[in-house]
Amino acid sequence: MNRFGKRLRALWRRRQLDRDLEEEMAFHLAMSERQTGDRTAARRRLGNPTAVKEACRDLWAFTALEAWWRDFRCALRTLRNSPVVTATAVVALGLGIGANTTVFTIVSSALRFDMAVDHIERMVALHPGEALANLDPASQPLLDFPNLRSQVKTVENLAAYRFSAVNVSDSHALPERYWRVQMTASGWNMVRPKPQLGREFEPEDERANATPAVLLSHRLWERRYGDDPSILGQSIRIDDIDHVVVGVMPAGSQFPEDAELWTPVTLMDMADPAFRRSLLVFGRLADGVTLAAAQSEVDGVARRAIAGKVNGPVVRVRPFLEMVGVYDQRAMLIAMVFAVGFVLLIVCADVANLLLARAAARAREISIRIAIGAGRARIIRQLLVESVLLSAAGGLAGWTVALAGLRWFDGMSAQGHRPSWIQFSMDARGFAYLAAISVGAGILFGLAPAMQLAKVDVNSAIKDGGRGAESPRGRRLASLLVGFQMALCVVLLAASGLMIHSTVNLYNAPLSIDPSNVLTMRVDLPEAKYPNADSVSGFYRRLKTALGALPGVTEVSLASHLPMAGWREFRGEVEGAQGKPGSLGQLAALVVDANYFRTLAVRLRRGQPFDENGGARSQVVVNESFAAKFWPGEDPIGKRLRAAGGHEAQPWLTVTGVAADVQQNRMRPLERTALIYLPYDTEPQPSVYVITRTAVPPGTLVEAFRRAVQSLDQNLPAQDVLSLEDHISNQRLNVTAFGKLFSIFAAIALVLAWVGLYAVVAHAVSRRTQEIGIRMAMGGTRRNIFGLVLSQGMRQVAGGFAAGIPLATLVTRGLSHGLVGVSPSDPATYAGVAIVLGLAGFLGCAIPARRAIRVDPLAALRHE
């Protein structure tokens, strides 16, 4: 430390140190000379005084550090001396690094998605298997949690939960609907975070006669209760049952689902078979147990509980992570990381080309450095310091790009129902990534030119004044880089082409409804207050009347699902279609009222909607696909179908109409599903969407709708009051958002690759001016010359295209999940890529080629 201090002090008194050394040497020489009387002998004995002084000075100084510092200052000077090159490189790098940081932050927040559970990768969920589809739901053994729990050995800590939406009302704010998780104590054992306020659930909370307890999420506590700790011990109404708030969970805790409320499962709940059936059972694989082993054991246990013989698995044991929302998009996200990484690689290749071109001009400078004693390693180091400095500046620019990009993506995803994993900010992790790719990129694009320069032939470089560095290797490297850029470009163009194709398919698919001027909202009636079908349908009748009376509302109807938002499955039987696959089994249905078809302007191809007054109970409407599937070539009107299963036979329902196919599939929008429209009066549901057609812009009616609901039941929230057009664009967000991102990346990549090609060809033309002059003097026509330059450039484009195709098929396979109506190897898309790339390549070569044919042979030759 003392030594370090002395050296630090010497740093400030460098002049003094130099003078002292000088004087010491002079004194020594003087004394020595006096003794021997010979000046030369004295010098010979001491050796080179400068070397001695340097050796002493090195002791006092931080030599290695200072060398870095010198390199740094030198690099700064060089960069400042060529502002155009520097600015170009910084802008390109800024875009590349910024885009990468943006995507990294998004993807890492999505994939990191920490559920705060130990060993989540070993957790499994137990889903009903195919065999259960043909069994009466009332006898489903899988969901008999107590039975499984007492017998299964391969899955430890078996737990169960139910995820449902509940209405919360209290004196703090208007009633609202939130997601609630009811979970067994064994589930809580796996949760790492403890409540930040209050207590955890205790065994007493599970007793049959316990006072209902609830834990709030941090988000709910913040929004609804204004961070007020005095909420502890207070009572809130959940679905019209009083619950005591016992604690608040810390922010970000969202196991097993992203809920706002957690409640325990009481013994009384467990005693109800219907409740047990609604549970999702999960647990952690015991040590050393494989998924397959657990599958066979659990399936065996469940099978023993079924009396009869069944086909297929009764239970499917699947990794828990498959249920996490982001799982489906994992491949898409990883494809996106690749795509944006390619953009950065293209940027690096561009900058490397830029530096290679400049290397020619710097060959002389470097040669002189080598000539006066700089080692090659030293030269490479200095050039690398330069390129890393360049990329650090790019990183700084990239930071601002990333911040803007994140804000844009945030804004875009905030329009829809934001998935819970989209909660990102530019955190330390993102910043570390930014720093790492900045330095990495600097080394990547700096290394090749630096090696090139350090190998310069000193003699010829100094003599030739710079042309010596234009080695064939350097040129080959440059065109290789361009080919590489083209290949990456193909991948990005293909990916964005497929996404654009998907988006177009998505928008072109017939909706079969008129989505303009439609306002929708969701209402859920709590069971405690509306216990039977009469009270439920009574409420909705009053609500329809109230809404219909609002000025601007022309039609009001009810539906169990909005378009593009799925359906309900039930077991049914189709008359007269026996033997046809699927005629006895799961049928897809929507529950709607008779006015649904008029409200959404769904065309009825045949017949009419069910008759609301009177006969509705025995009537049904099917869609075109359903009619085509079960009664091809027959008149479906008058055919019958009914619900199956259960102990008593269900009444037959007669088909009164055939509706056009409405897009209903959530994941695959183009798929046509055979659908049944059941009359609402047959199955009055407590949770439905109210769909209204309006004569005024739907947005102006939102408040009136909320008030209308509240006027009928002041504890009831109106949820998701949304125009149908907004709902549809939310459903499409997945494809459109990723499509936009890929298109942006592809556009950037194309521009950058084009610049790279142009620069290399233009450089080649300027270098070959004399050769072209000679060719023209010897009788080469302009067409020859043009072709010569063009073919040289296009060869790189073609090579890049050929190399890019296999790479593209690899990467686009990851996209297949998000594609709509287009296969990952769609030939039309690849043809489009070829055309775009060919055009860009032609432009990149034609401009320098035009310059080449304007070469004046006389001037070119005189130059020699």
Partner: protein, 96 residues
């Protein structure tokens, strides 16, 4: 060690040290002058010797080195160590 021993006799400048070692060893040991100064500076950095500017015998400004307390301790250790080694070598040589 030789430098430290020489300085044990009092403060001295670089030239003096070189001369002194040469004379004391009766011309057997000849100090490489080129490496003398880096050695001196290293010792100074290590805190074994101190340095200050003073007047030389012929009225010139010269840098005088002297032993510090740490240096004295180090010298004692080194001397012990050396003597042990020398004795050991001597014994081996005599034994043959």
């Amino acid at each position: 060690m030789l430098i430290l021993k020489t300085l044990a006799r009092g403060a001295m400048h670089g030239w003096g040290i070189a001369l002194s070692i040469q004379q004391t060893s009766e011309e057997v040991l000849r100090v490489e002058e080129g490496s003398l100064y880096p050695a001196l500076h290293r010792l100074e950095l290590d805190g074994l010797i101190g340095a200050e500017w003073g007047q030389s015998e012929n009225k010139r400004r010269a840098k005088f080195y002297r032993l510090t307390d740490t240096g004295r301790k180090a010298l004692a250790e080194e001397t012990d160590h050396w003597q042990q080694l020398a004795r050991a070598i001597a014994r081996v040589m005599e034994a043959v």
